[in-house]
Symmetry: C2
């Protein structure tokens, strides 16, 4: 494969995570090692930044800032949920790439974002414009296929497990009478995040909190729920419940939908499963319940990030650049669990189209028969992903996050109407 | 003052905090230094443990466990919200104290708990039973009078500021269109906790998040709220709001009460102010809003505790023992801000009755004229309280908290019907 010389563009898309900036840090750091990459640009707010020709010069950022990205939540380049729809949008992307001699495009995101990357890649091939496109996996949802797991997942699980353990200490202290405590966590269509709470249990202590985990994969009925809570309260002084926001009834309808709004990809915006369960407890059991909804903060909790996750996110960003420079295109970096006695994570590559069109479901056989707890196979899978503590530097008692200078790249084209 | 020889009893009361166990650790550690204190008992679930003669032997716990309490949230001895009502209850307390030769009683809690301690102390004096009673301040609400601040407050503020800074990174990343993000925090009758979120702003960056802070002290109107949000969104891409759960309208009614339940002290159980504001934004501004409700986890967040707070909680526990041994009784330990160039915290003593009957209000003059931000006086007051990071040890990726062995002390009396 002949060396391809030109500029590279890095973008972030979809919901931010605690570690998506670590992937950008990994990509930038690696790009600096390769002379075939001339300029290192970032696109502001994902594909919207491409359409608007809104690029910043990442090489102009200080090394300190790039290093700081490893501990900074959110998406430092800005992200978007904009979906490229019309052919005109795709043509514009190529026009902008050509205008800035973009020959390497790295896009960190989930299924929808990898679909976008795939379409851009295919169009460039059709038009004979040499472009190498590599996706970087990102999503707290852990639902990308082929890759063993996804950067962002380990950190949200670590934060939730930490919260569960702390909440359990608080609940246990109040042990005068029945107490039901509900923690609502993210997870639109898959229970990966809620399931992760199982790691809060000590080994060989199946009765530790969380006592009940409700997953979108297991159809919810009020009858079983009330029975589950009763069973726990016969044994324990309190009942700590973790519920995924996307809980569905046996007909597949969300048990609670806070509004009828949908996002640009047609997904329902959820919320309120925790309060829904709280009401059920109070109504059917006459017991006081309390709920907390971690909301967006859970995917941004860099102060409680998993070091394994941060390191793998960085590695995935670097691996994307290495693959592209070596001639690969139209792939996403995957994480592979090496065959070894202890956990070792390596990177691989998968076709973007396979990523875009697949979903990794939580294996039903990893859920115990009771439907509200996870078995050892899940624990073995997920435990390595939350190991090690990555904490940001603190200044005056609060975390100090990196901010990009965002030196703009001169525009050379006419504005585009999105 | 003649030396008083006998056993000591330590209890915890009211809502747990991230650092109330550090106070127990401080009291136990100090008690071991004094030969006049023979046995070191803990009462299980506050005054209920006294009524039920439910004591544990704290001296039997390993040093490792006592040290671990410094990082363990909840209330390791168990807590309660039981209020001693009838004379019979008080008589029982003295009966139990006499039966176990309890001569030192240390009670960590808020106003209601200090009131209980005061009444026990007064009754012992009346009956000529020599007993030294010292309260240890505890409450995330920071509303105890006389003391400069209260252990537990600094840690909840540090956690909320950390969450605000992380949420701001996430919100900023989504900067395509107006976004309103709401974080509901605790604070039944005072805005100390919500006000603390102001420390998330960098110095000299008044436009940093949180953009709007709604306090129970400032009567809430929909008109001003809508205007406030509009003003912020003219200037910023997103609007991050922190709201105290006890927000009231100009008539003094809670804007949102999730249920009509009240606790044993007659306090309303609140919740839902965040969702209430979310609905207002969507209804009046037609803008998508997201809310998170930190709930109980915020007062249990030992993984993000303030080192200053942990150290002061420990110091307050030790100071209680020192005071009692030196002959003091019927007082609560206070924290005093020493007159010095830099922040130095010392301990003092105040009458239990003065603590029980007072409330420290958030000074209205520390709130800016806009009613939704705090001035430099508040920042100067609160900043020292969140300094330093205290983190628990981790095991397999999750925090490891201390658990008491709880070796029971033999009961010598007949059971008591509470």
């Amino acid at each position: 494969m002949a060396e391809l010389t030109g500029n590279c563009l890095i973008g972030q898309s979809g919901g931010p995570t605690a570690v998506i900036n670590a992937s950008v840090a990994g990509a930038v750091s690696e790009a600096l090692n390769h002379s075939c990459i001339e300029e290192i640009y970032g696109c502001v707010n994902g594909v919207l930044g491409i359409l608007n020709e809104d690029f910043i010069d990442l090489a102009a950022e200080s090394q300190q800032t790039i290093r700081g990205l490893k501990h900074t939540p959110g998406a430092a380049l800005g992200t978007c949920r904009y979906k490229l729809k019309k052919q005109q949008d795709f043509d514009r992307v190529l026009e902008v790439f050509k205008a800035h001699n973009i020959r390497y495009f790295f896009y960190a995101g989930g299924n929808d974002s990898q679909d976008t990357a795939d379409k851009i890649s295919k169009l460039a091939q059709q038009q004979g414009y040499e472009l190498r496109v590599i996706g970087i996996p990102k999503t707290i949802d852990n639902d990308l296929p082929i890759t063993d797991h996804t950067p962002g997942y380990g950190s949200v699980v670590k934060y939730i497990c930490t919260t569960v353990k702390e909440l359990a200490c608080d609940n246990e202290a109040m042990g005068q009478h029945d107490l039901v405590s509900i923690l609502e966590v993210m997870g639109r269509s898959a229970g990966w995040i809620a399931a992760g709470a199982a790691l809060a249990k000590r080994r060989d202590h199946p009765y530790d909190a969380p006592h009940l985990i409700y997953l979108p994969e297991v159809p919810f009925t009020t009858e079983k729920f009330v029975e589950d809570v009763r069973r726990v309260l016969k044994r324990e002084k309190y009942c700590l419940i973790v519920v995924g926001e996307g809980l569905v009834d046996p007909d597949g309808n969300y048990v609670s939908t806070s509004s009828a709004q949908t996002d640009a990809f047609g997904h329902s915006q959820l919320g309120g499963a925790g309060d829904y369960l709280k009401d059920l407890v109070e109504k059917h059991l006459g017991i006081k319940a309390r709920s907390a909804k971690l909301g967006i903060p859970q995917r941004a909790a860099a102060h409680c990030a998993s070091k394994a996750d941060v390191d793998e996110a960085f590695m995935a960003g670097a691996a994307a650049v290495k693959a592209a420079v070596s001639g690969v295109t139209d792939k996403m970096v995957t994480l592979i669990r090496a065959e070894a006695d202890h956990y070792v994570c390596e990177t691989g590559l998968a076709d973007l189209s396979d990523i875009a069109n697949g979903v990794k479901k939580l294996p039903r056989e990893w859920v115990n028969e009771d439907g509200v707890s996870m078995n050892h196979q899940f624990v073995r899978y997920a435990t390595p992903l939350i190991q090690g503590e990555s904490t940001p530097p603190y200044d005056h008692g609060v975390p100090m996050f990196a901010r990009l200078d965002k030196v703009p790249v001169d525009k050379v084209l006419q504005p585009y109407e999105t």
